[in-house]
């Protein structure tokens, strides 16, 4: 345990004053730990990692870590990430977003970055709510739930983020909860190793808002809920469709081969590049 703590501290910014801004019991810290362990086990150099975020609770994550870090605008993390990856394909580009960030305001960018198969690892922390602004319903909030902006019940149905990523063309799609921290670390490691667009959906717990709205008042209760409702993708095959509806399927959902955008563009340049660079 001590060694693992030590590992985390190798990656945290000593120059940045803690404490962090997250609420006690928030799942983002578990994700940050898993992300650091996955990067460390992958043997990536700190100088080669670019960690990008959008806006919201997840937006603050890069601030604390000793990489090239970029805190962008709401929903647009993947656009900046695209520019960085294409400008310097040797960089390992990771974008951390929230559910509202990635699929509401950033939904357009999300599907098109997946379609282009840009070499970015995107991690979407899905806590089913807009936590930073006070618990409004998001594109992943369950139908019917009363929230601070749906006081009479949410009349919208929820996105399946992994399904969206798969259909849009992501070459790697996986899901874990923050309760399954070891699995989370493993699938992030697999996602990092992909050349194309990879998506990791992280089911997290916002105890402060979403927990209160669904009647689970403590982080422990929410984590237990994750434990009891998650089912590994390998076991999910044996369940009937009706049973699956109430479950969170975790594990690697999509893993396919397709050339990444920067690889195709490199070929394109090789075809038309002029010898002397003079037009």
């Amino acid at each position: 345990m001590k060694e693992r703590e030590h590992l985390i501290h190798n990656y945290l910014r000593s120059s940045k004053g803690f404490p962090h801004i997250w609420c006690p019991g928030c799942g983002i810290g578990i994700l940050l730990g898993a992300l650091i362990r996955a990067i460390d086990s992958g043997g990536y150099s700190k100088d080669d990692i670019v960690l990008i975020s959008g806006i919201g609770c997840s937006g603050r994550l890069p601030t604390y870590v000793d990489f090239n870090t970029l805190h962008t605008t709401h929903g647009r993390a993947l656009t900046f990430a695209t520019g960085i990856k294409l400008a310097n394909p040797s960089l390992k580009v990771i974008a951390v977003m929230g559910d509202g960030d990635a699929t509401a305001i950033g939904g357009n960018h999300f599907i098109h970055t997946a379609r282009r198969n840009v070499g970015i690892t995107s991690i979407i922390i899905n806590n089913n709510t807009y936590g930073m602004t006070g618990g409004q319903f998001s594109p992943t909030t369950p139908f019917g739930l009363k929230t601070s902006s749906s006081p009479y019940g949410n009349v919208e149905s929820a996105f399946d983020i992994c399904g969206l990523a798969r259909e849009a063309g992501a070459t790697f799609v996986a899901r874990s909860t923050v309760y399954h921290a070891r699995l989370l670390e493993q699938i992030i490691r697999l996602a990092l190793d992909k050349e194309g667009f990879s998506v990791v959906e992280v089911i997290s717990n916002c105890t402060t808002y979403f927990g209160r709205e669904i009647g689970l008042a403590s982080p422990v209760e929410m984590m237990k809920w994750q434990r009891d409702n998650a089912v590994l993708v390998e076991k999910a095959k044996d369940l009937r469709e009706e049973e699956l509806k109430q479950k969170i399927v975790i594990g690697v959902l999509v893993d396919r081969k397709a050339p990444a955008y920067h690889e195709l563009y490199k070929e394109l340049i090789a075809k038309c590049r002029l010898e002397n660079n003079e037009i």
Partner: protein, 382 residues
Amino acid sequence: MTKERRNDRILLQGSEACVRGALMAGCRFYAGYPITPATEIMEHMSRQLPKVGGVFIQMEDEIASLGAVIGASLAGLKSMTATSGPGFSLMQEHISFACMAEVPCVIVNVMRGGPSTGLPTLPAQGDVMQARWGAHGDHPIIVLCPSSTYEFFDLTVKAFNLSERYRIPVILLTDEVVAHMRESVALPPKEKIVIEERRKPSVPPEWYTPYDDKQTDVPPMPAFGEGYRYHVTGLAHDIRGYPTTRSDEVGYLIHRLFSKISRDFHLLQWFDSYQTEDSVVTIIAYGSVARSALYAVKAARENGLKVGLVKLKVLWPFMRQTVMRFLESSAKVLVPEMNMGQLSREVKRVNQGRCEIVTLNKADGTMLSPKEILRSLEDIYP
């Protein structure tokens, strides 16, 4: 003109000249979205950039385009995008980000008639104020305005230079006429062109302070991947780049963002003047209107009227020092614009009773003709 000289000249469209200037300045990344009348710039870029090893990408919208441009710039490439009014509106969010995070980038806005979808194929100058104040928050901005094919080339090179020098988004504000017009031009040879590169830190990473520079107010900027692992954010930040709400730190940041430009106002007085030595009425114009104004001045001179023209190449920061000189030497100043009166507000602000300001406005999709400007000159001539 000798035969050789004529051979140096080529027929270029404004958009093409812009692309040549960008590539000459070292632009190696372009992200954009199709929009009339700026699409030609994107098409030329898609053809030329791969030839020099650069990257072109067509994004899903203009917000994404400028996001990708800023990302590529952070990764070390000189980057640009081009659009027109509706797309320019979408870009405001990221113009604001680039100002706050001090990321060099060049944005071309080929103005068309507005508001809204307006007149996609026709010229206007309705985005003068949007270019200055469209992005949220207090921020300085540099806006250059070409009026010919050659100037489009020249000012594109300079836009990149200023952007790299000051770490600020630079907007090239032009109009449909200048972007689509074809002119015979002689472009200067490469060795005659001054190209500036962004200053990189000279200290080791552990000594690097990403958001402070007492000498110039413009901190040196490493690219991502060069070993300087620093934080970039649109939040108000301290000199290390970390979010802060401390008023002394925020105040210092905002003052530095402004002073890095304001300390060099005197270097940004770019204009051409014609026959202003003895002009009683002086025209202050920019963009394609300045071309009509020149014809009007020539015609008026033939009729014996002492009139002159000042063509502004920098719209923002507004050239107060230059404009004031002409306000003091003229009895009247005429400001013709293809809008309902935008830059004339600035002229009036600087004037403060020095002389009489007359505006000539048109926003119906047609150019201000030499005839219209001449008529106005004759009407107001004392």
